[in-house]
Assembly symmetry: C2
């Protein structure tokens, strides 16, 4: 498998964690989101993924190479193709719970702090760096505090977002905390999430997936 | 089952379509996102879903009521619990494709045009109505054009986003087109999506789920 990604991209980071948790080997192909006017916008990358977003996972199927996009769709694919070291629980309500935690980050937090969105704020809308950072912190912390409340209230929470084994939810949480720290969010109001984050970072699967440990890290 | 939603909420609309496509009966509970300072922010609704977002689906499980959140997690739950009239194909790569189409809307288009985001733009950031509408149209059409390109290029596209039976992708597409029309987006550049949208709206499952046909419609 080949993973087209960027060291700092949250969505790429999620897939790297999932691949590591499942013990699946893959080759990394760096797509630089800033250099060369954004390599994700190049014709060659758009041929792979017309959405012009990382990550894209290329897997072989009956001798053909198939490109998959969208981090959560890629992780669900890995889960279905390689069921060992499952990232979703068995029980249907618990699966829905874990997916909801993951989507609360993937849909309600991360899209608002995407590089292209921040660029639109400072470029097209002429917002200051300070307004951009306030925007980032507002949406990031609105989402993370809701998640904190949900996890604090749920008896299924454990060492990780769900129980004592990492799931899809942790694959999404860790990159979001990395991002939040980069944008200097005050994370003291989400102690449960920070506890889980630390438990994750103690595992090699998460550590090896971290932006600083990628070949394209700057 | 009880679906807490709002007639105009895209995410609620997605779940209504899925329930109808599967022929599942449900009771609607209206949560007005504007009146009373936003009923989704009330203590009673937050007890159900700390994220303070619609929809929430309440289902019975061993005599207890369980609340599920996040539209895509709810639809995956319905798919697993009620496999008849499947909303995902069988083949793993095709499942990943359909999920990626759905997520391209749910993660890359819809979050940027959420009511709370638009309010932040005009409120906190002091943007004009025109800037707000330009923002909406920019993100909506960036996402929809990428989707158009993907669907136009893919041999699996048919009467619907994938093949000739509606899937999870169509559950997400139709509410986004409704939203785009509301914000007066020029949809002439996405003819494949508009063709699929029409094919969906010809079906009772989609029509009955439309905002105008809800009890709380204004």
């Amino acid at each position: 498998m080949k993973l087209y990604g960027y060291f700092r991209s949250s969505a790429s980071y999620r897939v790297r964690i999932a691949l590591n948790l499942k013990g699946l080997a893959y080759d990394s192909v760096a797509v630089h989101l800033v250099k060369n006017g954004g390599e994700q916008l190049s014709a060659s990358f758009r041929a792979l993924n017309p959405e012009a977003l990382v990550p894209a996972l290329v897997d072989e199927h009956e001798g053909n190479e198939m490109a998959l996009s969208q981090s959560l769709a890629i992780i669900e694919y890995l889960e279905e193709k390689y069921p060992a070291s499952p990232l979703l629980p068995k029980n249907l309500l618990d699966r829905a719970h874990v997916r909801a935690l993951a989507l609360a980050i993937a849909c309600d937090v991360h899209p608002l702090s995407n590089l292209r969105v921040l660029k639109y704020l400072t470029g097209t809308l002429g917002m200051s760096e300070e307004q951009k950072n306030t925007w980032y912190q507002h949406w990031c912390m609105t989402g993370l505090r809701a998640l904190e409340e949900k996890i604090a209230a749920d008896p299924r929470s454990g060492k990780f977002c769900y129980g004592d084994t990492p799931t899809l939810a942790d694959c999404c949480l860790v990159p979001q905390i990395y991002n939040a720290q980069r944008f200097k969010c005050d994370l003291s109001s989400v102690p449960q999430l920070m506890r889980i984050h630390q438990n994750c970072m103690d595992l090699a699967a998460f550590d090896l997936a971290a932006p600083a440990n990628q070949a394209d890290a700057e």
